[in-house]
Symmetry: C2
Subunit: 507 residues, 2 copies
């Protein structure tokens, strides 16, 4: 017998980064490829992405957005139009310079190899984001205020040549959605930015069971070219922050760079106000770091590709068939009679010819919310053995089969809620209000990731950057609803301010 | 008043290629971009693609396939492994050679521009197809026969640097699905290839109302690296052929090039047998050329983003509100009470403040199957004015409102069937059996696209290529079920053969 190649060896406490990699591998979600920094998303990981996609997609459509698709390659000259934007992405662009290959004999080895040929007069960049190419389309599409707003979303792959990558969290190629909208007025564009900001917050809380802190980014942390960036910040189990989604008000910057104009109500030429917003496969990394435990992945039921997995336990050949039949019938009953979150319960029966323990641990590591085993004695007693992924892997409940069918949606709902509650409590414990510079500086000395600090803040961008650099932290956001609070002295400058800044280490 | 910028001027008879471009533009489906050969797929075109995707995706999943995602960029060395494959795609590869941009002052103009820097030691190719990179993953994933079959599908963008492009039908970047599977035996892999071939045939007929001729490709027309390519060939209204989907049996070619081996049942090392198969946004071009008429797009109901569009006709202010309310109520009733093809009827109420004629023609050009108008008199009479896209644009039926609600699914079903019947009859009329070389050669002299010929065939690849070149035709396929027929003399060599070849001009 070999070792279990997918056992997770370090605990979260022992080595969080290594634990993370092992959870991804043990759940068979993704792996590195030989293309630098690019991952292969395997079926279990991709099924989670499909679930996220379909949920978000219907939320976007309900709020009036339409999907479209724009070219992968962006002419270099487009990128140059918005200077700040170009500069922001210049160091991480994959550049296409040729459009053919030709076979050539290597003079040294004598082997034939392919070499690029057909040099392009203007190189293209693989989109790191699509503001410029979508802006070019908008400038063709908009003529009058009657054509506004334009509310467009794209599901696509993008490429940012990252030097240090980590599966899902930071990869050179990733999958995302990017919303791009154009509006007649600043007020409407800002309303759109906030609408999506709220949509992301709700989605993360209600679907992924991740409570986020919504807020604004400071100037230092804004999207290149944006006037305002709203973010939703998740705290994961090592107390670091993950920026889980952003929504940008771009003002008229891109409109002016790309001549997106319209004839206004008064007959004059005006520039549109644009927004952009996105979430990516990074959400899957966030999901793992938020909920997984030392045994492996833990999936909130709403996002789980399978919500219930039924494992037949068949020690004796003579009862094997009856048990498998009973499992299939249970699955059918659940699918037919019960629904959860507006859809049929997703149930899988694992009939593979493998040991029960092997199968159990596979589903534990894949994070399935409910595991059910049925063995000969259960069959006779009309019971099932129920195990919940939000509880210890040894905890079992023997429940009446009919009772289980009736209560399955309720149990899924409880698991969804328990994951959210656990993470909310954890986050509350790890955000500390801090008004003293001494305590502030002390805080970052100790443990690697000591949780977040919320401070009164009136410093300049330079002061922010200097503090950030010194302590390897960033202002994650100026949390929503905190700007209206009582005035207090800025933690750095002492100047009275009603603004609060949330500081932390981040992925 | 300006001209209607979206009027379609030539008829299909007058100028089919120009008519096609204008239909795409008039339906607002897609447009060219400034990225060479790449299109922007606009919301109406993309909604059709989403519909195709979701239909095919469930058919793939029902037959046991899982989705995954593989890197966009393929190391050049991967492509070189399968020589025939590399050669087949070498002339149309976009090559990434750099990974940064740097600002540089142009010595002549003094302007700052971005130039590629950070040269890669090994260039990458943007995937023209993913056999090689998915094969590399398969070689990691397969260890034993127990790991087989692997049944994987990917929805992705691919890039083939085409010199002459046409929206949807041939673009440098296109969207597609590519299935890749690995099997223990040749028999299983061939069965998979045929399963998908049949799935495509059924999908095109039942969902897109396009009757195809399913068959095998000759060696000359096979996918680079395949042992056998199955195709479904559609005849569009100019009597040209479009290869609508292909399914390839790759034998052990890719397995040997990439060392995809497994420990077999007897304990020895064996190579897997692989398949690949795909359809692309080309299906949308096929759909247009198959069904659209001189007025614009015609959509089969199953694939239409909206199946019923209701246009309130509100000449007088005093009845306006009541009419709009009545339209909304009708839409609600349709959605709630009726379903078509297993889903709620897709209904849109067009309340825009535009003239009724303008709105009517917009929906005609977008190909919506059923248009309904409600004006003051209809409201009073409890009637609706019904117009079907498969009939003349002037034909109207005034039908009882309740009767319309009841019969809407039936009407959609009739339209779906009438489009299929029309195209099937057209195809039958335009396929001629031909056993004489003289008649064969005559056939291609006259009209540009004189329809297809079905001939007994026993020629060599060289003979096929020579005939093809002479007449600007190709063997579209050796149709299914034709190889078992009575023997007849080959149209070229006179040799007795039971094989039939279908010849035509193609896109």
């Amino acid at each position: 017998m070999g070792k279990d190649k997918t056992a997770i060896t370090p605990t979260r406490e022992e080595d969080f980064p290594e634990w993370y990699q092992q959870v991804v591998r043990a759940a068979d979600m993704a792996e590195n490829s030989e293309t630098r920094g690019c991952m292969v998303i395997k079926p279990w990981g991709f099924a989670i992405w499909e679930n996220i996609q379909s949920q978000l997609d219907s939320r976007f459509k309900e709020t009036g957005h339409q999907n479209a698709y724009f070219p992968l390659l962006i002419p270099l000259s487009y990128l140059e139009k918005e200077a700040e934007h170009a500069e922001g992405f210049a160091t991480e662009c994959a550049v296409v310079t040729h459009h053919r290959l030709e076979a050539e004999k290597d003079p040294e080895s004598g082997k034939t190899r392919m070499v690029p040929t057909g040099k392009l007069t203007e190189p293209y960049v693989i989109r790191p984001t699509s503001e410029t190419i979508i802006g070019a389309a908008f400038s063709r599409w908009v003529e009058s205020y009657r054509d506004l707003p334009l509310l467009i979303n794209q599901w696509a792959n993008v490429m940012r040549w990252e030097m240090r990558t980590r599966l899902f969290l930071r990869t050179a190629e990733f999958l995302w959605q990017e919303g791009h909208t154009a509006h007649e007025t600043q007020a409407e564009a800002e309303e759109e930015t906030r609408l999506i900001h709220k949509l992301y917050e709700d989605f993360l809380r209600d679907h992924l069971a991740i409570p986020v802190v919504p807020g604004e980014k400071t100037e230092a942390e804004r999207f290149p070219g944006a006037l305002n960036t709203y973010t939703v910040e998740a705290m994961v189990q090592d107390r670091k922050a993950i920026q889980a989604g952003t929504s940008h008000y771009l003002g008229q910057n891109f409109a002016k760079a790309q001549e997106i104009t319209f004839v206004g109500r008064e007959g004059g030429k005006e520039y549109v106000h644009t927004t952009s917003w996105g979430v990516s496969t990074r959400l899957i990394g966030t999901l793992i770091m938020a909920h997984a435990d030392d045994d492996g992945l833990v999936l909130p039921p709403r996002v789980a590709p399978q919500q219930v997995v039924i494992v037949p336990v068949t020690p004796k050949e003579e009862t094997r068939e009856a048990i498998i039949e009973s499992c299939e019938a249970l699955a059918e009953a659940l699918r037919r009679e019960q629904s959860y979150a507006g859809a049929a319960v997703r149930v899988h029966v694992d009939t593979r010819d493998l040991g029960g323990g092997v199968k159990k641990w596979e589903w534990v590591k894949k994070g399935v919310p409910i595991r059910v085993e049925i063995g000969p004695r259960d069959l006779d007693a009309g019971k099932v053995c129920l195990q919940r992924r939000d509880r210890s892997s040894n905890e079992k409940d023997f429940v009446d089969r009919e009772e289980f069918i009736r209560s399955a949606p309720q149990i899924l709902s409880e698991i969804q809620q328990s994951l959210l509650d656990r993470l909310t409590a954890f986050r509350e414990e790890n955000i500390t209000e801090c008004g003293s510079l001494e305590k502030f500086k002390d805080h970052w000395q100790g443990d690697d990731n000591p949780g977040w600090l919320l401070t009164p803040w009136a410093g300049s961008t330079e002061e922010e950057e200097s503090l950030s650099k010194e302590h390897k932290i960033t202002i994650r956001c100026l949390p929503n609803g905190q700007q209206e609070g009582p005035e207090a002295p800025c933690v750095l400058t002492g100047q009275a301010t009603s603004v609060r800044a949330l500081w932390g280490r981040a992925y």
